[in-house]
Amino acid sequence: MTLLLGFGAVNTGNNLLYLLVSALLGFMAISGLLGHWNLKNIQVTLEPPDEIYAGVETLVRVRLHNRHRLLPVFLLDVYFAAQSDRTGHLPLLKKGEWEAVGVPITFSARGQHQHQQLTISSTFPINFFIRRRVLELSQNIIVFPRPLVCRQQGSVDQAQRAGVLENQAKGTDGDISSIGNYQGSEPLKMIHWKLSAHHDSLKIKELSSLQHLPVQIDPLTLPGNSLEQQLSCAAYLINDLTRRNRPVGLKLGSVTIPPALGPGHKLRLLKELALYAQD
């Protein structure tokens, strides 16, 4: 349109058309500048979730900081390289403020990922062009092997055969295994009121745990055509067994981690799997 009007202005010598064309050219320049500013001075940090598995889409929190002193930024689309169809969107980020947006990402392989390429794009101020800014972020993200279902009885048996430790811990959901004295820290529902009535002190029911037998996993003995499949199978088992509240341990090469429970322990096991044979 500007070209057409410019052509008309030159050929008619009409200065009013020249004014309009000048204003439109000015608008193009300023909109370009504004679009450039819109993507400038944005600081980005990644907040990955605790568990990221290869080949599984994960939502990474991307924290954006608008470092402009005067201007807010608008209509930001954030995505990781080559995944422009999976974006996180932020309509407005005020000057000097931080905001987080969830951006889907899929890592293709397990291991340490040191560098991430993040793209911030925006159509602001006008929808004619999409401006992009590619950021190279250096942040260590550990990607666990992709969990592959390997529920064959053989693999579980193999894992179980390796599990030799018996869990002696008292539980809260099994049968009564013994009677003990109330120490003050037990839940009130554990108090055996009838028995306490016959004694001077409060007695509690000591219950056995419903927890399964611990399992020690040796991925290299698990079924699979390759190491990656074996590690994937191990990742699946660790997740599955932990979910069932079953202590899991790991024996991988020279590393042996005794079975235990808890999210921290699970992450430790998965990390070992992720980094195995990566050097």
């Binding site: 008309g8 030159v10 200065n15 320049a29 209509l75 407005l92 159509t123």
Partner: protein, 644 residues
């Protein structure tokens, strides 16, 4: 909450209004009705979300309108059909359902409408319409971007304010750049499509012929004839020369181009003025009597000091005129006495008798002129523009019966009697008077100031005679009416229009070239004025610093003493430890531990104690924390225990 669609709708209809208003009067009547109806219907339809036209009907109508107006298109009629067509397309778009691209089409069509209006009128009203249009379209496009993203988007008051504030950068920046780009965009000396520009209008007051008795009344408009930028002069000097009418046929005075004559202006006071002529269908270049030469325009000069443009004056032109006030026009070669003494055959006996008496009573030409002036005074002639003589012998009727007429009657009868008295004479057509505008420093000459006077050849010199001044009521009608003085409002408006014409309308290829040429010499001239530049620079710097200080102080005042301390502390950390930023989520103690600086830890603990203790910061505490920050900034290794 503000719906983004509501904001977009408001801006869209505003832009449509701004596109239509400048050209509304030029549209065909049905199109005028159409656009008013479409505007109202569109508003209603957008409100109800029920539209009059479906897309298929709209497409058919578009083709029909194209067919109707393209048939009318020809080289003599290009602009009107196209503009009517564009407005009709806008009508269709207004009454149909709108998605993102449709709003974009409306913006584009409205801009084309405004552009089209520039081919119909060069009026100054275009400028406010353009400025508002740029505001509307640019902010509209930003809003449209949000609408495109999510049509149901709603913005909070703070968000919409923030958006509008940022979007305002676009129109303001665009208009500032427009001021620069307008002067540097390339221009061509001979625009090929010049015929598309607004057609020149015929002047109502000034005429190439003088025919007394042709009209019962003369009601010239007060339309602009031209403007002349010069110093203020006396009213008696304001004779603006246009043409010379030297031959008479019946009662009509016409121009015959004098051949083989040579003249020269001698004496008098030289003055220079810049004359700006609006587009006209004539080629006369008006000058302050008596003109010597013109600059800044390609002209053709005749020996009787008539200047003509070599090109049609289809657009506004501006040129410089050198004149001699009070100078005399000397006839250097023999004048064509047959031409200047020629009289028609149908002169009434009464007129002939007057001339005969003058010839008999006076021997010299000056005496005859004097006698003729006496005769005019004795006749008690009135200067009037109504109830004019209209008989077959208008001069006779003017002099002896009605005794009223305007300058054409006075001048033609005076010149005729001069010729009958054997005094060579001719008529000069132009303008007399002018309203001086102090703001712009120019004379405004309007069509109702059109005037005709007489020149008589006496002793080889053409002498100016204005018989209209011999009217019995000349002081009250002729002179006073031409120097009424403009009101303040009119003067201001006219100054603006003059500036608009001078700066924008008349800017062309030649002006651009001159600007480039002169810019070099202007830059050279700047060199000796370094002191002035330094002073100006210092003032600007001072103003900028003051503004920055004021902004900083306002921002600083918004913070509580605790917030100020924290900000200073964070700044100190950034400086001391070369940090790029401090994430807002990071705790003070956590940060201090990371930095492994006991002073930071002290600050963090002390500050947290005050903050979470929900008590006010005492002056002593403030000072202590402030000292600690200073130490952190300077990197001094003092033990924190010394402070607390």
């Amino acid at each position: 909450m503000l719906r983004i669609k509501t904001l977009l709708t408001i801006l869209t209809y505003l832009v449509v209004l701004l596109g239509i208003i400048p050209l509304f009067t030029w549209l065909d009547a049905p199109v005028q009705f159409g656009i008013v109806g479409a505007f109202c219907a569109g508003l209603l339809a957008d409100h109800r979300q029920r539209y009059l036209l479906g897309s298929k009907v709209a497409t058919v109508l578009t083709f029909v309108f194209f067919a109707i107006y393209l048939v009318q298109l020809n080289l003599n009629n290009v602009v009107a059909p196209i503009i009517n067509l564009v407005v009709l397309l806008l009508c269709i778009r207004l009454v149909t359902a709108k998605q993102g691209r449709h709003y974009l089409q409306i913006f584009a069509l409205a801009l084309f409408c405004l552009a089209g209006s520039s081919l119909l009128s060069l009026g100054m009203l275009y400028l406010p319409a353009l400025i508002l249009m740029i505001f509307g379209v640019t902010i509209g496009l930003v809003v449209l971007t949000f609408f495109h993203r999510d049509p149901s988007l709603r913005l909070t008051r703070a968000q919409s304010t923030s958006l509008i504030k940022t979007a305002l950068i676009l129109p303001i920046g665009s208009l500032l750049l427009m001021l620069v780009l307008f002067f540097i965009l390339p221009r061509t000396p001979f625009p090929l499509w010049n015929f598309l520009n607004p057609a020149a209008s015929a002047t109502a007051g000034f005429s190439e012929q003088v025919r007394p008795g042709a009209f019962a009344s003369n009601a010239a408009s007060n339309n602009l004839a031209f403007r002349a930028e010069c110093e203020q002069m006396g009213g008696e000097d304001l004779y603006w020369r246009g043409t010379v009418l030297n031959s008479i046929e019946g009662s009509t005075w016409k121009r015959t181009i004098p051949q083989h004559e040579h003249t020269r202006v001698v004496g008098g006071q030289q003055v220079s003025c810049t004359i700006t002529l609006p587009a006209t269908d004539k080629q006369f270049l008006f000058t302050l009597d008596r003109p010597i030469k013109l600059d800044g325009i390609r002209d053709r000069q005749h020996s009787d000091q008539v200047f003509l443009s070599r090109r049609p004056l289809r657009k506004i032109v501006s040129y410089q005129c050198q004149s001699s006030l009070g100078g005399t026009l000397q006839q250097l070669s023999a004048a064509d006495m047959e031409l200047y003494l020629d009289v028609p055959d149908n002169i009434t006996p009464r007129v002939q008798q007057v001339a005969q008496q003058i010839r008999q009573q006076a021997a010299t030409l000056p005496q005859r002129i004097s006698l003729l002036e006496d005769f005019f005074r004795q006749q008690q002639l009135n200067y009037a523009t109504t109830d004019l003589p209209r008989s077959a012998a208008p001069i006779d009727e003017f002099l002896f019966a009605k005794k009223r007429g305007y300058c054409e009657f006075f001048a033609s009868s005076f010149a005729l009697l001069l010729r009958l008295s054997e005094v060579p004479a001719r008529l000069v057509g132009g303008y007399h008077g002018g309203e001086y505008n102090n703001f712009g420093g120019y004379y405004l000459i309007t069509e109702d100031m059109a005037h005709v006077w007489v020149e008589a050849l006496i002793d080889g010199q053409w002498q100016r005679l204005d018989p209209s001044r011999l009217a019995s009521n000349a002081a009250t009608t002729l002179i006073a009416s031409r120097q009424q003085g403009l009101s303040l409002g009119k003067r201001t408006l006219d100054s603006l229009e003059y500036m608009w014409t001078q700066v924008i309308i008349t800017y062309d290829f030649n002006t651009q070239i001159n600007l480039i040429r002169n810019s070099g010499s202007h830059l050279k001239n700047l060199a000796p004025q370094t002191t002035t530049l330094v002073h100006a620079g210092l003032i600007i710097l001072l103003l900028l610093l003051s503004a920055a200080a004021l902004l900083w102080w306002r921002a600083y005042q918004r913070l509580t003493p605790q917030q100020r301390l924290l900000k200073r502390y964070q700044d100190a950390l950034l400086q001391r430890y070369k940090l790029t930023n401090i994430p807002p989520a990071s705790g003070l103690v956590e940060l201090a531990l990371k930095l492994d600086d006991p002073r930071c830890l002290t600050f963090a603990q002390r500050y947290s104690a005050i903050l979470y203790g929900k008590r006010h910061l005492s002056a002593a505490e403030y000072r202590q924390l402030d000292d600690l920050i200073t130490e952190i900034r300077q990197g001094q290794d003092k033990k924190s225990s010394k402070l607390f």
